[in-house]
Amino acid sequence: MSNRPVPHAKLAAEFLEDEPHRHFHDERLWDMRQKRDEQMHIMPEWQELREQASRLKEHTLAHLPQYLEQFEENARRNGIHVHWARDGAEHNRIVEKILKDHGHSSIIKSKSMITDECEMREYLEPKGVSVTETDLGERIQQLDNQLPSHVVVPAVQKLTTDVAKTFAKYYNTDPNIDDPHALAEAQRNAARPVLLSGDTGMTGGNFLVAETGSFVVCTNEGNADLSANLPNLHIATLGIERLVPRMADLGVFIRLLSRSALGSPITQYTTHFRRPKKGGEMHVILVDNGRSERLGMDDFWTSLKCIRCGACMNTCPVYRRSGGQSYGSVYSGPIGAIIDPTFNARKFSTLPFASTMNGSCTNVCPVKIDIHEQLYKWRRVLAERHEIPFVKREIMKMAGRLLAQPTMYRLAISGTEVALKTMPRFVLYNYLNPWGKHRELPHPVKETFHSWYKKNRLNRTKAQHEETQA
């Protein structure tokens, strides 16, 4: 994996070049945000649910060892094999070993962010194991050899015409299909035989229930229930932070999850696995991969509360206009920008800057993660670790000195006003001014507030003040 900082702004600029893609992406995500709002408005208990969800997650994270032990004990009692993986590589070796023990070589898989995080396909495929994504969006991304663009709708950056071209290449369908129904049907027809012949089913999972040793998978397409139940071997991969203490706690999370994600009251399938099916075998792999380390970070541990609904992505003006691919990571958008640097601070050093600090992500988060505040804190951490580029760092230093001295600041402002009025564009818009790359600099004003105030109000206010004093 390359360690070079993801050129987010550059990739976003490329994404913005195509008007139909840019327009659809923005509208589609905003539509999801609005549908979420509609659900919120008809539920007077919404804020109480968020508060409860947040407190449940905080409690669980504060007592994680205890609940993990409880989950493991109950799951084992139910006949589930429980494995632990320190990192992605160990996870992948565990999957490989399970397959080897059974002489298996074909995985049918429902969408799970964590197997992408572990780069499982990349590990297993060269070893002769076929891994077929069965979720439509994830399958499109797999065929195009791309990371998911969004945690809920992986191929949201694409138009029907893009999918038609991809399917034509791999499924021999007409490249000019412009009806999404026909393409979804093509996926159904292509997936069925693969589902029926796969020897190993893999799923992710949204929740682990400590009290019962169960795990819950929330999906819409039906592919997860097929992938898990068709073969006799089911492997589920979940992060150690997915725990909730009690079955009753699911009521809170299930009521929030799909409403926050898509604005639907619930996912079409909410599936509870508690023990292997008759004659089957079930494995759960609990993955750390940096989570325990994040739990020790004072400013950032609450990002582990995330239930992967994607609401912060849908609402983010930067994400909507830059597309998931520009983040160069499995997790994109605001939540990606605060968890990606924990995986690789250098590579993802640009992401916390992909925000306007409007705080909308924090406001829509169903588990109340202070996302925009963590974005700000990451900027500080990265600056301290010298993970931000030279020009940005130096400009910020200069700005810092300037803003700390009122006289200097005012001199600079009047100078800037003159400059904006008189300087040619090539002086104002160059590499030293990254801000002006895609934006127009503000129009110069005739008069600053400060000089206006000095002329019109300062003496009057002073006089009034003295009067009241007297």
């Binding site: 659809f24 539509d31 539920m43 208990e45 109480e48 649910l49 409860q52 407190r55 409690h59 504060a62 994680l64 993990l68 032990e69 632990w84 160990e90 439509l136 969006g137 499109i140 992986p154 191929a155 949201v156 694409k158 999918v163 999404p180 979804a184 996926q187 069925r192 589902l195 819409n220 397409e221 039906g222 592919n223 229930d225 097929l226 079955m247 009753a248 706690d249 699911l250 009521g251 809170v252 898509l262 639907s264 009251p265 619930i266 079409q268 399938y269 909410t270 599936t271 509870h272 696995f273 508690r274 099916k277 008759k278 750390d288 325990s292 380390e293 739990l295 020790g296 970070m297 541990w301």
Partner: protein, 201 residues
Amino acid sequence: MSDETMSARDVIMQRLKEKKSPQEGAYPLPPVVTLGDQDASPERFEASLALMGGRMLPLQDGEGIEQAIKRAFPELRNLCTAVPEVEGTLRIEDLETHEQADKVDVMVVRAAFGVAETGGVFLSEVELKDHLADVHLAQHLIVLLSKDELVGNMHNAYQQRSEFRTAGYGVLMSGPSATADIQGVLIRGAQGVRSLSVIWA
């Protein structure tokens, strides 16, 4: 012990126990809550089901369940049944291969209970006679549901229904399979059943 000699489990546990934040005492376990509308009426269930893309199949005067199914699916050839109320063309217990289930036009099952808030119906290995995948391979699904087996919302469901603690596999299906992965167009009937109809029975 070093990382090499300890099991992955012990290493993870040790890392978690050594963590600095959050502190245990600061985050007590919140009590279980029951929030929002707890109306468990059939009317609410029907409205929610419609929202999730499912539909009701009301019986006409003097009509039996099997007749109603045949009326709704005139082209029907393979009717697979998991309920005594319907004879069908084959019983779910008699399905020997998944390929057989793949050819089923309509599957009829009884749900253990329904959730009025979401229009969801609960199916487990008990109702499915251990044919967990076969129900999802069928093209269309008919669900028999008793009006006496409704809960209001998801809080009520998890608190009141023992099935969540007894079933090995329990799926709450709220409408048919669906996707909106291609250009945001909502398509009912993705990879699982293409339609889901509920009959009060």
